[in-house]
């Protein structure tokens, strides 16, 4: 789980070539799957690309999926830098969304407030709820010695049970069967991208893409600044690289584990801004729909760097959108093909990260200096 650049590889190999090889492996593997099903992989790739990028609608949906993936990818990456593997993005996004949703429901109950006034409050609510849901496993690891991976997995299940209970018994809109809350007040709805661009005189198709996309990019810049250009970020990376050294340098690794997890969960919690305040406009079950898990693949592929994460979030967003178009065109290929690709990416970019490295290192290592006469 080494975060970021390779130790012995040239920068461009580590940042561009290695991810490219990983993508190639993932595409090859999924091509074999499509071939095994008895379909044409190249035709499938064609549908996938045109579905994701061939129309304004496709691009809109791709960016909309990428928005949530940027948040969850950043969440996983931030924890990586502190040496932590946060598998709980799914649960943190879920509970963060609860915070956003509750906030919106309360603001709706008082008659609604303009969205730009509500947004800072809902962001805070999502971050606090998601952050708290991650800080508890962090605290348990730091102060009670339980393993963060197991605890965050358990917290995913607990989050899902908690949300099911709240939606079915407490937050459901009275007099309906499906477990969904009342709709938020329209004043709280975030502006859609087609409305904003329409205001500027640019006509685009109507898609779920909304203002949150810009927020996600802002979050990337913020994480970049925080991790690489502040004292806190330096301490965070030191804890991730060598806990003992960090301790010796006066950083408390325990405190840092809790804070890093809280920050990670806060980022995951912002998925709710995109999905609930941006698109659904009500609280409902499973709105996060696997985005938290996909964040793992996004972070691994993006080498835990904000720029890489934006690119890999775009890639996975395109896969989500293109994949559903593909399954619409070719009935035998179901949209879960994206999940296979995601798994292969995690395998090659994550678990097998050491497989290609030695070969590439041999290939690109500067030639050993000829033995200059030492004597």
């Amino acid at each position: 789980m080494s975060a970021g650049g390779g130790d012995e590889l040239p920068r461009w190999v580590s940042l561009a070539l290695l991810p490219a090889i990983n993508i190639a492996c993932a595409l090859l593997a999924s091509g074999l799957v499509i071939l095994a099903i008895g379909e044409d992989p190249l035709a499938a790739l064609g549908y996938l690309v045109t579905g994701a990028l061939g129309s304004a609608t496709g691009i809109g949906y791709t960016l909309y999926y990428a928005t949530s993936l940027i948040f969850t990818g950043l969440a996983v990456a931030l924890a990586f830098h502190a040496g932590l593997f946060n598998i709980g993005g799914e649960g943190q996004a879920y509970i963060g969304g609860l915070g956003v949703g509750l906030c919106c429901l309360v603001l709706s109950a008082v008659g609604g407030v303009p969205w730009w006034l509500a947004l800072p409050i809902t962001i805070l609510a999502g971050a606090v709820f998601g952050g708290a849901w991650a800080a508890v496993p962090g605290w348990l690891q730091a102060y009670r010695g339980s393993h963060i991976v197991i605890t965050t997995i358990m917290f995913n299940f607990i989050a899902s049970a908690l949300m099911a209970y709240l939606m079915v018994n407490v937050l459901i809109k009275p007099g309906q069967m499906s477990p969904e809350s009342r709709e938020f007040d329209p004043s709280l709805f975030l502006p859609m991208m087609h409305e904003m661009l329409g205001g500027l005189g640019i006509e685009v198709e109507q898609t779920p893409l909304n203002l949150t996309f810009l927020l996600a990019l802002l979050a990337c810049a913020l994480v970049w600044f925080l991790v690489w250009h502040t004292r806190w970020g330096f301490a965070l990376r030191t804890v991730g690289a060598n806990e003992h050294a960090a301790h010796y340098a006066g950083v408390s690794p325990r405190r840092m584990v809790v804070l890093a997890m809280a920050a990670s969960g806060a980022l995951a919690g912002l998925v709710g801004i995109n999905e609930l305040q941006g698109v659904q406009h009500k609280l409902l079950l499973n709105f996060q729909a696997g985005m938290g898990f996909t964040g793992i693949a996004v972070a691994l592929m993006g080498r835990a760097h904000p720029v890489g994460i934006v690119l890999s979030a775009l890639l996975f967003g395109a896969l989500y959108q293109g994949g559903s178009e593909l399954s619409f065109e070719v009935q035998t290929i179901s949209p879960e093909l994206v999940v296979v690709i995601q798994g292969v990416v995690i395998l090659f970019a994550g678990a097998l990260e050491h497989m290609f490295k030695p070969a590439l290192a041999r290939l690109f290592r500067p030639a050993p200096k000829p033995a200059t006469g030492v004597a």
Binding site: S146, I150, T151, I158, T332, L337, G343, A351
Partner: protein
């Protein structure tokens, strides 16, 4: 009285059925983790096994071919895990997540392509499944009070794989604590360097452990699709692999306590099915979600040392580097 006894017996009966896959998967985790290889991928191996069993049983009409297919598929995934974690010293958790993800996607894609039933396989019936076995004398003894019904309802009348699951517990305990292989296996999870110094291959031992885990997960998957259920559904394991992992932790990485934890979780599950919408005197309606979340909450509390303490094998999760 009689009715209460029957209700209790039928709850215990479903407890046994629900516990079987958990026991198999938890024992899989037991072998892998005691050898120092963390296995988050129990879920994925079970799921892939379930699909392979259902598909093979549909094609050939034999649950035995299904079982073999399940074991083969699960072993293949176990080999991937071994290749990534043992040979390439990759991160074991990440590898497990990859296996779960690949299994989830691949089973759905292939099921949809082969059977075109929205990610299901055709329903299996009769000889395509592992049927229930009535043990000898179950009918004759059922007249005897208490013992008769217990024997007839609870012990007799399960399918073969249930008996296999429960027989696997003493077998696993014997292998791990009574054989030379077991001693080495446990040693390699605690102190691989010592095992290496003794001239025993760490890698080959860990591969064996990972393959045993694959075998057991395959049987668990076949159980879900061709014994307990009648065919494959998308994501039909629905977290059972993680529940088994929780049982393993609750059982402190020991076979018999792990069995007890599996039975506890299965009992909670059986009870929850019965308590749905029922008013419990003095308490009112118990929220199903609370019972669902209970195993996970318990595991968190235990790992944190609030209820007892579970300490994992010392070298688990760490790849062994020989040349240090």
């Amino acid at each position: 009285m009689d009715e209460a006894l029957l209700l209790l017996l039928s709850t215990l009966d479903s407890t046994v059925r629900l516990a079987a896959p958990l026991v198999l998967a938890a024992l899989a985790g037991f072998f892998s983790e005691r050898a120092g290889v963390v296995d988050i991928g129990l879920e994925g191996k079970m799921l892939a096994g379930a699909f392979a069993a259902a598909a093979a049983a549909t094609a050939t009409g034999s649950p035995w071919v299904g079982l073999l297919a399940a074991i083969g598929t699960s072993l293949a995934l176990a080999l991937v895990h071994g290749f990534a974690c043992i040979t390439h010293r990759g991160n074991q958790v990440v590898s497990g997540v990859a296996i779960n993800t690949i299994a989830l996607g691949l089973t759905a894609v292939i099921a949809n392509a082969w059977f075109q039933m929205g990610g299901r396989t055709p329903a299996l019936d009769g000889p395509q499944r592992f049927g229930e076995i009535t043990l000898p004398l179950a009918g004759a003894l059922s007249g005897i009070p208490l013992i008769g019904p217990i024997y007839a309802e609870l012990i007799s009348g399960h399918n073969l794989l249930v008996y296999a699951a429960f027989a696997a517990v003493p077998l696993a305990a014997w292998v791990a604590y009574g054989t030379r292989f077991g001693l080495r296996l446990r040693a390699v999870g605690e102190n691989p360097a010592a095992v290496d110094t003794a001239g025993i291959g760490v890698e080959s031992l860990r591969y064996k452990a990972v393959l045993i885990a694959g075998l057991l997960c395959g049987i668990a998957g076949a159980y879900l699709a061709t014994a307990q259920g009648a065919g494959f559904q998308e994501n039909m394991t629905a977290g059972k692999g993680f529940l088994a992992l929780a049982a393993l932790i609750l059982g402190k990485w020991k076979p018999w306590p792990t069995l007890a934890a599996c039975l506890l979780f299965a009992f909670a599950d059986a009870l929850q099915a019965r308590l749905q919408g029922v008013e419990v005197p003095g308490i009112g309606q118990v929220p199903v979600q609370l019972i669902e979340a209970l195993p996970y909450v318990l595991t968190v509390l235990l790992l944190a040392g609030f209820v007892g303490r579970a300490i994992p094998p010392k070298a688990s999760g760490m790849p062994y580097v020989k040349d240090r």
